[in-house]
Symmetry: C2
Subunit: 386 residues, 2 copies
C-alpha cells in the first residue's frame, strides 16, 4: 500500500503532463493522446490566452526575412501542413470548420516610402524563392474594391493564409476531450524534480501529478514557472498585442483577402472571416504582463484600419482585447528536450503560434517517441541561446 499524500499521487505517473492549453498545448496533447499516450493537460483557462486573442494569420511570407531564414523555412513548412492539419482537426472535432482561408494577403503601400519598402520585401521574397507579385493600385482595388482610393499598390502574397483562431481553439477543445486527454482546470504551481530531472508538477490545489515527461507550453508564462531549473529556462518574455473584432455582414463582405499595411507609421492588419467577422490587429511591441486594453492602442488601430478600409467605420465594434505573445530573442520558438531530463519545451512562438502549430505538433510527437527533432525544427532548440 503506497504512503499518503505526495508519494501516493506520484505513484500514478502518466506519460505526459502538458502545462498550458493554448493552441500549442492543446494540439500536442491531442496528438499525444491519439498516439496512445496518457496525457494530463493543465490550464486554469484553456484556450483563453494569446490563442483566443489572436487574429489567425498564417503569414510565413510577409513575415519572412533573410536573417531569420530557418524561421521562414519552419513557417513555410508549417503552412504547407495546415490543410491536412485542419482537415484532421475538423474530423476529430465532429466536422467543426476551422475557417482556413487560402485567398492570400495584400501588403498595401500607402505612400512612396511604403512602396519602396515593399519592393525591397519583394526582392527578399525572390531571393528566398517565394512567390509574390507587385500589384498596381487599380488592380488592387479591382480585387478589393473597399480599399482606400489613397493606396499606391500592394504586394500580393498568395502563400499567406488565415484560420479562424477561435474556431481552432474550440475544435481542439473538442478533439482533446474525444481523444481522452484529462483536463485539469488548475494552474501549475511548480515543477517537481531535483534540478537535473523533472518528475511531475504540483497544481495550485496541492495535487501532485507524476509524469514521464512534462511539456512546457505555457506561452508567455513559460519562463516564470516555479521549480524550472535555470539551464532549462526558455528566454520568453510577454509581448502585448491588442486586437479588435468588428461584426460585418457575411453577405456583403468588406474584404476577401487579409490586408496589411503601415499607415503613417502605424502597422495594421485586417483579417476578414467568412462568417462576417473582421479582426483588426497590429504588430505592436509593448512588453510586460499587462493585459489591459490601452485606449491609445485602440484609437491607433481603428484609425489605421479605417484609413485603409474606410467602410470599416460603419461596422459594429464587438470586442477589444489584449493578449500576451511569447517573444524570444530571435523571434523563433523554443522546441524539444532540455538539459533537464523529463522536460520538453514547446513555447516561444511569438506572433506565429497559429502558423507553427502543425509543425510544432509533429516535432514534439517525434521527441515524445524518443527521436530527435525533425530537421526543419532542429535549429529551434534551447541550446541556440547558450
Amino acid at each position: 500500500m503506497p504512503a499518503k499524500g505526495v508519494t501516493r499521487d506520484m505513484a500514478r505517473a502518466v506519460d505526459v503532463v502538458v502545462v498550458g492549453a493554448g493552441v500549442i498545448g492543446l494540439a500536442l496533447s491531442w496528438r499525444a493522446a491519439e498516439a496512445g499516450r496518457s496525457v494530463v493537460l493543465c490550464d486554469p483557462h484553456p484556450g483563453e490566452g494569446a490563442s483566443w486573442a489572436a487574429a489567425g494569420m498564417l503569414a510565413p511570407v510577409t513575415e519572412a526575412s533573410v536573417v531569420e531564414a530557418p524561421l521562414t523555412r519552419l513557417g513555410l513548412e508549417s503552412a504547407r501542413r495546415w490543410p491536412a492539419f485542419a482537415a484532421a482537426l475538423s474530423e476529430a472535432a465532429g466536422g467543426a470548420e476551422v475557417g482556413l482561408r487560402e485567398e492570400g494577403t495584400l501588403a498595401v503601400a500607402f505612400d512612396s516610402d511604403d512602396r519602396r519598402q515593399l519592393e525591397q520585401l519583394l526582392r527578399v521574397h525572390h531571393s528566398l524563392g517565394l512567390t509574390s507579385e507587385w500589384l498596381p493600385a487599380a488592380d488592387c482595388r479591382r480585387l478589393e474594391p473597399r480599399l482606400s482610393p489613397r493606396i499606391r499598390g500592394a504586394l500580393r502574397v498568395a502563400g499567406d493564409w488565415q484560420v479562424d483562431n477561435r474556431a481552432v481553439v474550440r475544435a481542439l477543445l473538442t478533439a482533446v476531450s474525444a481523444a481522452g486527454v484529462t483536463q485539469r482546470r488548475v494552474s501549475v504551481r511548480r515543477l517537481i524534480g531535483n534540478g537535473s530531472r523533472v518528475d511531475g508538477v504540483e497544481l495550485a490545489d496541492g495535487t501532485h501529478l507524476a509524469a514521464a515527461t512534462v511539456v512546457l507550453a505555457a506561452g508567455a508564462h513559460s519562463g516564470t514557472i516555479e521549480g524550472l531549473p535555470a539551464p532549462a529556462r526558455p528566454p520568453v518574455r510577454p509581448v502585448k498585442g491588442e486586437i479588435l473584432r468588428l461584426a460585418g455582414d457575411p453577405a456583403d463582405p468588406v474584404l476577401e483577402h487579409t490586408v496589411r499595411a503601415s499607415v503613417e507609421g502605424r502597422s495594421v492588419y485586417v483579417v476578414p472571416r467568412r462568417h462576417g467577422e473582421v479582426v483588426v490587429g497590429a504588430s505592436s511591441q509593448e512588453a510586460g504582463f499587462d493585459t489591459r486594453v490601452r485606449a491609445g492602442a485602440v484609437e491607433e488601430l481603428l484609425r489605421a484600419a479605417v484609413d485603409l478600409v474606410p467602410g470599416l467605420a460603419e461596422l459594429e465594434l464587438v470586442e477589444c482585447r489584449a493578449g500576451l505573445r511569447p517573444g524570444t530573442p530571435d523571434n523563433g520558438p523554443v522546441l524539444g528536450r532540455t538539459p533537464v531530463a523529463g522536460l520538453v519545451l514547446a513555447t516561444g512562438h511569438y506572433r506565429n503560434g497559429m502558423l507553427l502549430t502543425p509543425v510544432t505538433v509533429d516535432a514534439i510527437d517525434e521527441v515524445l517517441a524518443g527521436h530527435d527533432l525533425p530537421e526543419v525544427a532542429a535549429p529551434f532548440t534551447l541550446e541556440r541561446f547558450w
Copy 2:
C-alpha cells in the same frame, strides 16, 4: 367573488403604474411610493438603457441657448435641486454615494474658430444672467495640467456639474425597493383603455395591471408603445449616443473638471469620476433604434479625447456602449397630463435625463396629487407640439 382572468387582475387596481425604469421612472416611482401611493414599476431591464449609458453631466449652462430659454430655466432649476435630491437619495439608499461633483466644467477652445464660438456662448450666458468666465490657456493648464498644450483657452462654467449616473441608478434601485415599489421585470405589451382613457397596462407575460394613473417614462420607446392613443403620443425619437469608459487611477486623476470641446469638428466631452473612471462621449446625432457600437464612432471619440487630454491614451479602455436618448422636436421633455384620462407623460428628456430628474420628479408628484404642473415645468406639456 370576481370573475376570472382580466377582470380579476383589473380589479386589483394600484394608484400608479410606471412604464420604464430609467432614472426618470425609477425616481418618480420612489417619490410616489414615499408619498404613500401604491406603485408598480415595469421594465424588463431596469436602469440598463440610456441612464446606464449616460455620462452623468449636469450641464444647464454649456447647453444653454437663447431660443430654448424655458429649457435653460428648467435645467438650472433642476441643477439647483440636485444637491438636496442627491442627499435624499443617498439617505434612502442606505448611505450610497451618487458622485455629485461641483468642480464645474471647462469648455475648451482648440483654435481661433472655437474661441470665437465660445466668446459668443459667453455673451449668451451673460444675456441669460449665467456666470461663466473666459480663462486664458495658461490658466486652464494651471487648473488642468493634463490638457493638451495646443488649447487656446476655455470657458470656465462653474454651474455645470456631474453625477455618477450608474451610482444614481444603483441608489434608485435600492430606494424603490425600500420604498415598497413593486417591480415587474417584464416589458409592457400595450396600454389598456378605450381611446379616451387608460385603465392600465398589459404585460408581455399576459398579466393585466389596473391603475388609476399610468405614467409613461419609457424614454426613446415612449412613442411606439401599443395602445397609445394618437392624441397622447409624445413626439420622441431615438438619438443614439456612443460612450466610452476608461479606467484611471483615483490617486493620480487625469482631470478634476468635466472638459468639453470641439476638436476638428468632432465634439467630445470627458467626465472624470472621483473613483478614477473617465467617461468619454459626444453630442452625436445618429437616429434609429440601433444600439450597436459603431467602430467609426469609437475611433472619432478616442481621437478627439486623446487630442484634448493626451494622457488618456495610457488608460485602459474598459467599455464601449451605445444608448438611445429620447429626442424631441425642441429638445425639451414632455411632462404632465395628456388628453387621455389616466395617462401622464414623463419622457423626451433627450440629453438631459440626469439633469432634469429632480425637477421632473417634483413636477410629476404635483400632477399625481391632482395639481397642475409647477410653473417652471408648465411649458413642457404635450400641447406645445399641437
